[in-house]
């Protein structure tokens, strides 16, 4: 299907020959947002790097608009950012910021290591998200360290990019960050992650933080069973993968 931007089939991701996620399958269409939720060390970063082809999958397949990464990234405009710790500290902030589109996103000429954590994170995000148009956005813990203004900017930017047809993958270990933002959630709670659609957690499709925490706890406590609705409606069990 043409509007499927990211297609994942039976993917197993590995870190140092250790499997961190197995048998992950989902499709992400243009305008959809997937939230990857898991504790620190659960394999969120490895999974996200596998999605964009920086890490080879142990098995299974990822396709970006029908093509295999990393070659697919040449044809599908993609933004990937894994946090301020990945920025080279010796580079001047203004020079790094201009790498997105050539436009200046930050006039500060100090070296990146001299900036505050929040400013570094914002610089990395603005540089990665600066390209137009974007078809796929993969952000690893994007809210980490951001101040309130930057958080609002990120939310507004992601909404705009999504509305313009980008598929978005976001990860966080803080469930509050992802509540209400995503169409699907991937809980990295065990060897086989649990995939849940937002409307399976809340009938309205808008998931509150409490509902997300509850669904995550259920997935962690009963990894092989389904997630019940928690919004007061009669709770039918749902399928977990697509």
């Amino acid at each position: 299907m043409i509007d499927v931007v990211l297609s994942v089939r039976q993917l197993s991701a590995q870190r140092s020959r250790q499997l961190v996620a197995q048998a992950v399958s989902f499709d992400l269409r243009a305008g959809q947002v997937l939230g990857v939720v898991g504790a620190n060390g659960s394999g969120k970063t490895t999974l996200l790097r596998t999605l964009v082809g920086f890490v080879s999958p142990a098995s299974g397949e990822v396709r970006i608009e029908g093509r295999l990464p990393p070659a697919a990234l040449r044809l599908t405009p993609t933004a990937y950012f894994a946090g301020e710790a990945t920025l080279p500290g010796f580079v001047r902030a203004s020079a790094w910021g201009s790498l997105g589109t050539g436009d200046v996103v930050m006039t500060d000429r100090r070296r990146i290591r001299a900036l505050s954590r929040s400013t570094r994170q914002l610089l990395g995000l603005r540089t990665a998200l600066g390209r137009h148009p974007l078809r796929l956005i993969v952000l690893d813990e994007p809210w980490e360290g951001l101040d309130p203004d930057a958080t609002r900017w990120l939310s507004a930017t992601l909404e705009t990019k999504r509305d313009r047809g980008a598929a978005v993958v976001l990860s966080s270990h803080r469930l509050h960050d992802l509540a209400g933002v995503c169409d699907k959630y991937l809980f990295l709670t065990g060897a086989v992650p649990t995939l849940v659609r937002a409307h399976e957690i809340a009938r309205s499709g808008v998931v509150s933080a409490e509902q997300l925490i509850d669904a995550f706890d259920r997935a962690r406590d009963h990894p092989t069973t389904a997630i019940a609705l928690t919004d007061g409606q009669p709770g039918g069990l749902t399928t977990l993968d697509e």
């Binding site: 870190r15 140092s16 970063t45 490895t46 790097r49 964009v52 920086f54 890490v55 080879s56 990393p70 070659a71 697919a72 990234l73 040449r74 044809l75 993609t78 933004a79 990937y80 950012f81 894994a82 946090g83 710790a85 990945t86 920025l87 080279p88 010796f90 580079v91 001047r92 020079a95 790094w96 201009s98 790498l99 050539g102 540089t127 990665a128």
Partner: protein, 233 residues
């Protein structure tokens, strides 16, 4: 073309050779010019410090920076690891190359000695100094290959009586020897100003072959290696 321009912009913003190292290379080239103009030195003598600095500059540590995520922005544009690696190698040797070419341009004007920077021996020495250190430092921290080479060379010269003369003698001997072939790699300064095309093929070829092989090994290692994230502490 857009990818090439982006790579140029990227390595201008995030050069693999540090600014102090670039300044050192240019200062050395400037001092070489002064020494040649004053008649204090010329030929291979002024090129030796430049070659040593270039070995340090080329030991720029590609793999570690990649695993720290410094090149995620480039990889996310679909640039292959081999393409990124090639761009990194070029960006690592360009400061040394420009300083070298500056000395080559000054030599005919300022030096009373025979110009040495563009002889075949000097070109071989520069290529060896551009390839081995970069390739060996690929999975290691910056400067590791240069420091290792320096330690080995200094130790060898210290424990072998008349070590430098032995290496130079073997290097320039009319018949190829194992020591001569080793000297090409261990003591590339011995090639500066020499017409290497008149040296026995058995002396030069093993060194050149090893240099090419080291680059191919680095390419193969980078190509098959994943890029997991290993952020700096």
């Amino acid at each position: 073309m857009a990818t090439l321009l982006f790579l140029v912009a990227f390595f201008r913003a995030a050069p693999p050779v540090t600014r102090p190292m670039v300044l050192c290379l240019w200062a050395t080239a400037g001092l070489a010019g002064v020494a040649m103009a004053a008649g204090l030195a010329g030929g291979a003598t002024v090129l030796t410090p430049l070659l040593v600095l270039h070995i340090f500059a080329a030991s720029s540590g590609f793999g570690l920076a990649m695993k720290r995520g410094h090149y995620d922005l480039v990889l996310a544009r679909g640039v292959s690891v081999i393409g990124l690696m090639t761009a990194h190698w070029l960006a690592s040797i360009i400061p040394g190359l420009t300083a070298w070419l500056a000395v080559a341009a000054l030599e005919p004007v300022l030096s009373r000695a025979e110009p040495a920077a563009l002889t075949s021996g000097s070109v071989f020495a520069f290529l060896l100094a551009s390839s081995f250190p970069w390739a060996f430092t690929t999975p290691l921290p910056r400067f590791t290959a240069a420091i290792g080479w320096l330690v080995l060379l200094v130790t060898s010269l210290a424990i072998i009586p008349s070590g430098q003369l032995h290496l130079l003698g073997a290097l320039r001997a009319p018949q190829p020897t194992a020591l001569g072939a080793l000297a090409v790699v261990a003591y590339p300064m011995g090639l500066l100003g020499v017409d290497a095309l008149h040296l026995p093929a058995g002396t030069i070829s093993p060194g050149v072959g090893c240099a090419l092989l080291s680059m191919l090994c680095a390419a193969a290692w980078n190509r098959r290696a994943d890029v997991p994230l290993e952020t700096a502490a």
